[in-house]
Amino acid sequence: MKKIIFLILSICAFSMLQASTAIDTNQPSVEKTQQSHEVRSIGEMFSNFYKTTGIYAFLNPKEGATNALGEPMSKFAQSWGRLIMIAICFLLFYLAIAKKFEPLLLLPIAFGGLLSNIPLANIIGHEGFIGVLYDAGISSELFPLLIFMGVGAMTDFGPLLANPRTALLGAAAQFGIFGSLIGAVALSQYTDLFNFTLQEASAISIIGGADGPTSIFVASRLAPDLMGAIAVAAYSYMALVPVIQPPIMKALTTKEERKIKMRQLREVSKLEKLMFPLTVLMLSIFILPESTPLIGALTFGNFLKVSGVVDRLSDTMQNALINIVTIFLGLAVGSKLAAEKFLVADTLGIIAIGLVAFGLGTAAGVIMAKIMNKFSKEKINPLIGSAGVSAVPMAARVSNKEGMKEDPTNMLLMHAMGPNVAGVIGSAVAAGILLSIFK
């Protein structure tokens, strides 16, 4: 056996030698020249090497330097800025791992942020691997939509179909978006610190939709430079839903209201579930084409799932595809955590507005439920109103938990899933409106 291999290898060797001769004689040979390489002494080499270290780069920021994308970087951003951002990424790791803050997206985003603050490595440049992912999936809006497909394939709209009027709670909660839009423009107009354009304010306000992919989608169109802060704020507050919502919910409801029991949900037929994504998509087409990339992706995923005939596609959407895209999207969004993008006063404004947005949305959902109870015999427990902000399924779980605090036999979970998934649609509609305004 070994002999055979040896024989074959010898033949290969011989042919290659012959080949190289053949090439030498026959081919328009390209004379290889030593590429530019300056001869240096050992000492110079070490000192040159030192200049390519991260330590040197942190200690010696340069005036007029640019980042890997050719954008100007202040000396502060090159030195302390990057170090602060690395610390912030570590904080996000801590929150994602120890506090379970939406780790599926915060971990990749924060790691992408870490990699994006490395001096000299050009990872976010158009040639760097995160830059390549950004260009492939964020500029083109592909990644957030693929995530939305997966979300659609994972979502059961049954509870909404069983009790459609809870969709109004999901509508009311979008006040979080538009209320914070007012907040953002007010900050711009009445303070000197912030100076958001209307486009930027709109992108920021979508945080109130409590829907990560929607936020990223809108930010990529209206305010790409703010995307890092918007994404981090959106996912952080989604994770903070169990902290932010309960006090607001309690403040706005009475003990009696929180004890309201709701009628058990009716059965929903397979055909109703099958028609649902098509119905929603048709409404979007007729009323708000601008929202159809988002709603189209969501309903596509859901339609494949409920069709029941393409389980292998639906299964891949919910697993391999959404996981791969989550990794890529996270890293790519993380590139907007580069110091020169993130460490600006705007970020503080975004974080503050985001908090307000969640509060407003929660309150609006609860109040809407109370209003509906005024006009209807069949009472709604206003605790499920807060689930209208989306943040599926945390917000619905919060409603359930608060309800059980008052009456441990009162399972609100399925009832809260209705406004919860309606909130996803509502946010996509709101996004479509804002996009259509700036069209």
Binding site: A167, A172, L181, I182, L198, E267, P393
Partner: protein, 86 residues
């Protein structure tokens, strides 16, 4: 000329909330109508089971209670995959 940003924002809010509500109210009515039509013309054939708790909802309730179910589901998923490879 300076734009009054807050005034613009108010307009956006008005347009936005009206449209969101219109969209979802319309959806509510269409869904009601659709449910009626479907239950009238295409009533579920078998004695339909209760709303089948879907995967996503299962995960909402912490799925500790049902290890056996999960095992069966795991095997079934696999069986499906294998059966569908052809």
């Amino acid at each position: 000329m300076e734009i009054n940003l807050v005034a613009e924002g108010m307009k956006f809010m008005f347009l936005g909330m009206v449209t969101v509500f219109l969209f979802l109210i319309l959806m509510v009515y269409v869904l009601h109508l659709q449910a009626k039509i479907i239950n009238k013309f295409f009533p579920p054939k078998e004695a339909s089971p209760l709303i089948k708790p879907s995967k996503s909802v299962q995960s909402v309730q912490d799925g500790n209670s049902a290890k056996v179910a999960a095992i069966v589901a795991a095997i079934m998923t696999h069986k499906n995959k294998i059966a569908k490879k052809g």
